[in-house]
């Protein structure tokens, strides 16, 4: 399977799961649909870029690093928009986003087939 597709699937899935943890907080339950969609979309973007990176560079360490930085970056945008509409939740959004990004980065390195050019080179 293509690494970009692997990133997209895991990013979407893990993003949705991460968003679903908002159900543990009574004050965010009414907003769960919006959180789920936003979190899945954020995860999907992290996954696609991590998958693209994994096709270019085959290194578990770099995959985790890039995934976590992307996760942190996208989570910051979400937290920034959230802060404009009310109480800021930077830590609650960015910290899990960082770890989910690392997991997605790791999975794109370990799963999926590398690009044909890299296969030949290796």
């Amino acid at each position: 399977m293509n690494k970009i597709l692997v990133g997209l699937i895991f990013g979407l899935g893990l993003g949705a799961l991460d968003g679903a943890t908002a159900l543990f907080y009574p004050e965010t339950r009414p907003l769960i649909v919006g959180i789920l969609i936003g979190s899945s979309f954020k995860g999907m973007l992290v996954g696609v870029v991590s998958g693209w990176f994994a096709r270019k560079v085959q290194s578990t360490g770099w995959g985790i690093a890039v995934g976590s930085v992307l996760g942190l970056l996208f989570a910051f945008f979400v937290a920034f928009m959230d802060a404009k509409s009310g109480k800021p939740h930077y830590l609650e959004i960015m910290l899990p986003g960082f770890v989910v990004g690392a997991i997605v980065g790791f999975l794109t390195q370990r799963m999926g087939s590398p690009s044909p050019v890299n296969t030949l080179r290796n």
């Binding site: 943890t21 543990f24 907080y25 578990t60 985790i64 830590l91 609650e92 910290l95 899990p96 770890v99 989910v100 690392a102 997991i103 790791f106 999975l107 370990r110």
Partner: protein, 275 residues
């Protein structure tokens, strides 16, 4: 006439040595002695290099030809065959400097290094089997580990050799299955059961007394060693559940750490939010 002690000592040293007159070799020292002959270190005067010279005490038909057919990095190459003036046959081969496996094993070596040696020996055996040659006498004394880690399997396929107790298969007719038995015994010798239960299971399967219960080929045995090294399940052992979990955890350690980190973050945020 009186003969001085130094002359007697010299004669004692020289008399058993073979006369290499008429050859291009100059004798240096004895390296080893076996049932079929003696191996000496010698210098090839023409090419100015050191070689190992095996002088056969008993006529052995085609030993050198058997080895010369085997061109493999882990098989010592034959340079030349010939006959000495006293009628004994000899052949010159690459002189391997290093340690015999029975000496090498006493040094501190990790499991991976020990398995690397077995893999190299196994590759040489698999290659020889593909050329319809069997070793017949695989044992630690016939494996050399060079100073740069290169591995050589020596003393190949002589019909008159009947194997060495402890490494010889119990069946009366030696064939490829008997070599697999010897390789299993060698694995057991190199990797004690206390070092790894899974490797002990591989060795036990390879050196099963019933040839039908052994691996079908050397390649199948090496495949199980590869699977063990990759953290996969092996053919030789139906492992206990705790061992399977341990193997899963060690194969997926990074992922498990990341999932644990995520769970820890979520717990932290949950309680931080509440209190």
């Amino acid at each position: 006439m009186e003969v001085s002690d130094s002359v007697i000592d010299h004669l004692r040293r020289v008399v058993p040595l073979p006369d290499l007159a008429g050859t291009r070799y100059q004798l240096e020292s004895e390296i080893g002695r076996g049932g079929l002959g003696v191996v000496y270190a010698a210098r090839d005067r023409d090419l100015d290099r050191r070689v190992a010279l095996k002088i056969l005490e008993v006529p052995v038909e085609g030993e050198a030809q058997v080895i010369a057919r085997l061109e493999h990095p882990a098989i010592v190459p034959i340079y030349e065959t010939g006959t000495l003036i006293d009628g004994r046959s000899f052949y010159a081969m690459k002189l391997v400097t290093g340690a015999r496996l029975d000496h090498y094993v006493h040094s501190e070596h990790k499991l991976g290094e020990r398995l690397r040696i077995i893999r190299r020996v196994g590759e040489a055996l698999a290659y020889a089997h593909s050329k319809a040659v069997i070793h017949r006498d695989l044992k630690p004394q016939n494996v050399m580990v060079g100073e740069f880690g290169e591995v050589y399997v020596m003393d190949w396929g002589v019909e008159t050799v009947a194997g060495t107790p402890g490494f010889r298969a119990p069946e009366s007719t030696l064939d490829q299955q008997s070599d697999i038995y010897s390789l299993g015994a060698l694995l057991q010798f190199l990797v004690p059961p206390a070092m790894s239960a899974a490797v002990a299971a591989i060795a036990a399967k390879a050196s099963h007394t019933d040839p039908g219960q052994r691996y079908g080929s050397v390649t199948a045995l090496l495949g199980d060693i590869d699977r063990f090294e990759q953290g996969l399940a092996i053919e030789a052992w139906s492992e206990p559940i705790w061992h399977r979990l341990q193997r899963f955890a060690s194969r997926n350690a990074v992922l498990l750490w990341l999932l644990a980190a995520y769970t820890a973050v979520k717990f932290f945020l949950f309680f931080w939010h509440r209190f």
